[in-house]
């Protein structure tokens, strides 16, 4: 509890752990706010609280998830992520070695994403008042020239191709298999990864009309939101959606619809048709885009509707996730 007091033990935790791993000229100042020089710009600002259960899962943990998730929210807005905050809510008695492992993986992921953690906060609550550890990261980035339109999706229109950057559902499966309650085991690891460098490789083509990272709510929710109040529809082909056999099998077994599975290192893009082949080529050069695929397109028929053609040729409408599929997936 003393580590959350704001006094001496808090100070020790900050210097012996957080500064040791995250240290940089801005964070080291330990001022109430971090200070950074910025040029005149369009700033992107985002926040996410991470409550994933369990804290450690195959392929990652709550720490690198908290870095990647927020970096990806900036990147899909067409921003170059610059700085993150990190705020911890920790349950009294949480293992210090596990905390250090989480912090170390945050540092590593921040390095991969080429961003700095420049401000933070730690609260400790009594046993039973939170479940182990929750982490909030907020992020700021600068919108690149030629990328200002991506976030709103105003340029998206019929004929545009719909891309996903790789296999869907790996994160959801990895987290579920790490939960003892379901008694399933698998070799699938989470796809958690910062996508900013993959995304940067294609935003300057000017061909990206819209982008979203495919997290909670899955591909279905993003596609439903994309067509809401728009004068076009979405038509995708189930056969073209990249998914691992194992993830598909697991969905059948548990009755999950794979379209709603969460990912933490996958992006859905709407791409100008003329540049579709070029974009696919660039994406596949990148380790995080090797299995990128075109899964459908925007169509002028059925405006406001997202439709999927199944393996057997029938079609159905894709709706937003209703109710709740998997709690605490991120």
């Amino acid at each position: 509890m003393g580590h959350g007091s704001g006094g001496k033990l808090s100070h020790e935790l900050i210097t012996s752990l957080f500064l040791r791993y995250f240290g940089n000229d801005k964070l080291n100042e330990l001022t109430d706010s971090a200070i950074a020089d910025l040029p005149e710009c369009k700033l992107a600002f985002t926040t996410d609280s991470y409550v994933v259960d369990p804290v450690f899962f195959p392929g990652g943990n709550i720490g690198n998830l908290a870095i990647s998730g927020t970096v990806n929210d900036l990147a899909v807005s067409g921003a170059v992520p610059l700085y993150l905050s990190a705020s911890f809510i920790i349950e009294e008695g949480f293992d210090m070695e596990q905390l250090e492992e989480i912090v170390a993986s945050m540092r590593d992921e921040a390095g991969r994403a080429d961003i700095q953690i420049i401000t933070g906060d730690t609260k400790v609550v009594r046993k039973g008042q939170c479940d182990k550890i929750f982490i909030n990261t907020s992020g700021i980035g600068i919108i690149e020239k030629n990328a200002g339109h991506i976030s709103g999706g105003k340029l998206a229109g019929p004929g545009d191709k719909i891309f996903v950057s790789g296999y869907l559902g790996d994160h959801a499966m990895a987290v579920l298999s790490a939960r003892n309650e379901l008694n399933i085991s698998s070799n699938v690891t989470s796809d958690v990864a910062p996508l900013n460098q993959l995304i940067k490789s294609i935003t300057n083509t000017g061909a990206i009309h819209y982008m979203r990272d495919i997290t909670r709510g899955g591909l279905a929710t993003i596609l439903s939101e994309l067509v809401q109040k728009r004068d076009f529809g979405v038509y995708i082909l189930e056969k073209d959606i990249p998914m691992r056999e194992e993830v598909l099998g697991f969905c059948e077994l548990l009755g999950f619809d794979p379209l709603y599975l969460a990912n933490e290192g996958k992006v859905m893009m709407v791409v100008d048709n003329e540049h579709a082949e070029e974009i696919l080529y660039i994406l596949r050069q990148h380790p995080l885009g090797k299995h990128a695929a075109v899964i459908g397109e925007l169509v002028s028929e059925k405006p406001g509707r997202a439709v999927i053609e199944s393996l057997t040729g029938g079609t159905r409408i894709i709706n937003m996730l209703s109710g709740e599929q998997l709690p605490r997936i991120c």
Copy 2:
């Protein structure tokens, strides 16, 4: 649980509650990141997670606390607060009317502070996995010209006067009296308030050499940090510290040292001696600075030490809070 799914119910909660209260042109876009135009500037960036227990206390609740606390972290850095993020972790079954009351008070406090909430996040965890509601707010602001030095305190030196902006300990007492366990009752209400306008009224004098809001760890911790590794000491007079009789009595009763009590609407300032009277005059014109007082000064004797002279004339050294006085005070 469905409200945290990222799907339809999340969407409904966002539009029917968060947008209804916080709505503005940036938040309404509901993009992964909010986007704001910024001039070339020094940016201040800060974050805090709020876990106060109980969620409602005399004079405020976790919502306006989350706004004020983060606004104040920006303001004491010499920044004009511009934008906030708001991220909620909510326990399954938390009362919707209470949530609305919290959100409404966030809107009101944001209005008082003249800032906008432009991005957010909501997670819902199962019953027993968090204690009712935790809120993270992160904030960005622009450092004003002539205020760039405040945050680091580099200009602070012997002869400077130490100010506090009003009565100390009100927040701690209000929160404690709202906890049933201690069986105390009082009429004291929390001092939670956004201090940015009070602070703005004095930063352009150029006379403020250092500022901190007096939160967790209390005045003692701030003063200890101020003298750390510096070539001056602090000397304050207990008799000059503004405190309500009732708060003092309560400290005696419970054995608390008032120097360690948390506040959420009080600032400690180090002021150029030449401007001390002018600053005191300006502060006292403002409703939030009516009871501002000079409590001591920076001295060249005992460098690295903060010393207090008691009512009876004895002196003792002030140390950082060690251990933990009051958990979940903010």
